[in-house]
Every structure is written in C-alpha cells, then in structure tokens.
Amino acid sequence: MHPDQIRRPLATLMGLMVMPAILLTAASAWSHGLSVFAWVEGTQVQVESKFSGGKRPVNAVVRVLDLAGNQLLEGRTDSQGRWVFDLPQRTPLRIVMEAGLGHRGEWLLQAAETKAAGEESGVTETPSPPPATLPAAEITTDHLEAHLRQVVEEALQPLQARLARLEERRRNPGLQEILGGLGYILGLVGVGAYVQARRIRARRTAGRGQAP
C-alpha cells in the first residue's frame, strides 16, 4: 500500500471526527427527547415537562390514565410546560404527554404518593388551614394532622424541585453517554476489521494451497 493511501484516510477520519466536536461545543443547547415529571402537592398534581434542549412544550396534550389505561383527565400545558390538575382518585396514575411530531413522554405517580394525598382529601371537612388563634382545648387530632401535613409539605417543596432538576439532568445526555456510544461504534468497526482480516488470511492460505 502506498503511504499516501494510508495517510489520507487517517486525515479524513480526523477531520470528520473533529468537525462534529467543533459544532458541538458551539451549540448552546441539547435537544430532543421529552421528559415529564409529576408530583403531588396537597390534593393537586403538578406536571412539569421539558425537551432535553431546554425548551418547554407549549400546549402539549397531557392525559391522565389509571393503570388499566382508562383515561381520567385530559389537559394542555401552559407556556412553561406545566399543567396542574386535581387528583381524581387515590390509585397510581400514569401521566402521558404528547407534544406533537412523535414526541411522547410519560411519568408514573406511585401508589404511595397518591394515597397520602387521597387521605388528606378525605379530611377536608375540617377547615384545612387551622386558624392559629384556635383555643388549645379545641385543637382536635384532625386539626393537628392537617396542620402537620401542611408544614411537612412546605418543607418538602424545595426537595421536590431538586428531585425534578436531578431527573432532568439524568435524562439529558452528557459526555459519558456520547463517549459510550462512540465506543460501541468503534467496537463494531473493530469487529468488522477482524472479519475482514480473517477473510484476507483465509484467501491467502487458500491461494498458497493451490499454488503447488
């Protein structure tokens, strides 16, 4: 093989490898892939969504299903990719979002989350935010429970937001995923090269066998 024939493909490979990398660093955002995240707040469910490019799906259809697949509710996201709905029942819920052009995301609300909220909606006959001036004698366990629940929920809110952020980061591809994918392709090329080498060797030995 002429040395030029080796050098040229090498230069080309380098060029083709470097080009996406340059474009990549120039690109400000990632894109595609729709992530949906939902959590229970009081008797309401908050739904947040995002394309992995950072854009919020506006006016995307959100459907709330039970585990059997029956549709309970349907709504659309606002300009921030959010939608809030009243918890329809205490069972686990599937929240499915369709943002058009084949984009689809899902989130499962676990039984534990919806059950806790369901219990609270069960005690709504009692005034939900108990007045602070309530005489000590009139503080019933119901009041106390409702009050505690409210306090705990407020304390948990930052945690929920943090979880949502973590979830988003988990879904956005990073360097690890990119290198992983490139590694697999390199591996496949290696397999191809191995097959090719075996063929060439087989052809050579066959040629030698015929020669005498």
Partner: protein, 220 residues
C-alpha cells in the same frame, strides 16, 4: 425527528422493522470491507449530530446529517444509521427500541435517494457540485420530514398538517445541513477524493503528482 415509543400502531412498527431489516441486509451485503472504518466514522457523526441543536422558533430540532451519510455510503448508510439510532435510543432515550425500524426508514430512505440523485453531480463544475451538495443536505431532511408525516398519518389521520409542521420545524436544519454538506464535500475533495462516489474526470486523476513535487520541494 425521532418518533417516540408508544406513538405508532403495531402494523406500522412491524412493517417499518421489516423494511429496515431488509435495507440493513442489503447494506451489509454491499458493504465493501475496506470501507468499514468510513462507515463507522459516519455512523459516529450521525450519532453525535442529533445532539447539535438548531435553535430557531419554538420547535426542538437538531442536525441529522443523513444527506451526507447517504451520499458517501450508499446502501451502507442503512446499517450505519441503524447502529447510530440504536445507540441514541439506549444512551440518549431518543426514539426507542420498538420504533427503531421506522425511525431508521425515516432517515435512511432519504439518504439512499440522495446518494442516487447526487453522486453523479459531485465532479461537475464547482458551482454545480456545490449546488448538488447543498441540495443533498437540504433534500435529505426534507424527505425525512415528509416520511415522518406519513408515518404519523396512520395514528393522527392528518397528513398535510403534520407534514407541514415537520417540514416547517426542520426548515432551519435543512439549510444548515445543506451548508454543512457543501463544506464536507469540498473538504473531502481536497483531502481524500477517493471517499466520494462517482467518477472523477480525467484531468483530476492526473493531478495527484503535483502535491508530491511540492512535498519534495518542501523537504529540500
């Protein structure tokens, strides 16, 4: 441009998978083993390109690069795209495993079309070659958007609206890919013309000795 899991009906998924499998078989059969590295590199480029975001308007669109992949690889583009899409589904959660077949078709069929349409034009006059390169990058994305519309037709029952939306959303991508294709082809012509399909005109074939003489001059 990736269709997510659970959007399409079973018949569409199955026929997509069958056609993609057939295309991959043909692609592998026609794969020249000396070109495996090239197929790998273009598959890598396709894999990474989907992370490059074209930020115009409210839509979420990204580079596809199926035009140049098809132009350079011909039928081998089908396995290259299939591999890249599989890895995108696993690593990036783009698309999904059950929709792999249909997504491969959406991107590989335009790649093939571009290969046959434009491979003969690359060695014409520079202006013609540049126009062909641009058209290759542009048309591949355009055709993909149309295919996306027809795949979604079976569930959304509305071809024109969906296709118009897909074409509109990807219009900036088409232009960007057209420009990228011009640069890639011009770059490859200089660096490694052997990678490009089509026959080089005779005067170009005699050209290579010239750089060698320059190298000798540099060395002395």
């Amino acid at each position: 441009m990736h269709i997510s899991e659970g959007v399409l009906s079973a018949p569409v998924l199955i026929s997509g998978a069958a056609l993609a499998a057939a295309g991959t078989a043909i692609g592998l059969k026609r794969l020249d083993y000396d070109r495996i590295a090239q197929v790998g590199v273009l598959s890598s480029a396709f894999f990474v390109a989907s992370l490059i975001h074209v930020n115009v308007g409210p839509a979420s669109v990204h580079l596809i690069l199926n035009g140049i992949v098809g132009l350079l690889l011909g039928w081998s583009a089908v396995p290259a795209i299939l591999v890249a899409l599989t890895l995108q589904a696993i690593f990036f959660q783009y698309g999904g495993i059950t929709v792999l077949g249909i997504n491969t078709l959406i991107m590989a069929l335009p790649a093939l079309a571009c290969h046959y349409l434009f491979r003969g034009l690359l060695w014409r006059r520079p202006s013609v070659a540049a126009t062909a390169s641009f058209a290759c990058g542009f048309l591949a994305v355009f055709l993909s958007a149309l295919l996306l519309g027809s795949a979604l037709y079976f569930t959304e029952k509305e071809f024109m609206a969906v296709a118009a939306l897909a074409v509109g959303a990807n219009l900036p991508v088409m232009v960007v890919e057209g420009v990228i294709t011009i640069f890639c082809i011009a770059f490859l012509k200089k660096v490694d013309p052997g990678l490009l399909p089509g026959k080089r005109p005779a005067e170009n074939r005699q050209a290579p000795p010239a750089p060698d003489r320059e190298e000798v001059a540099d060395a002395s």
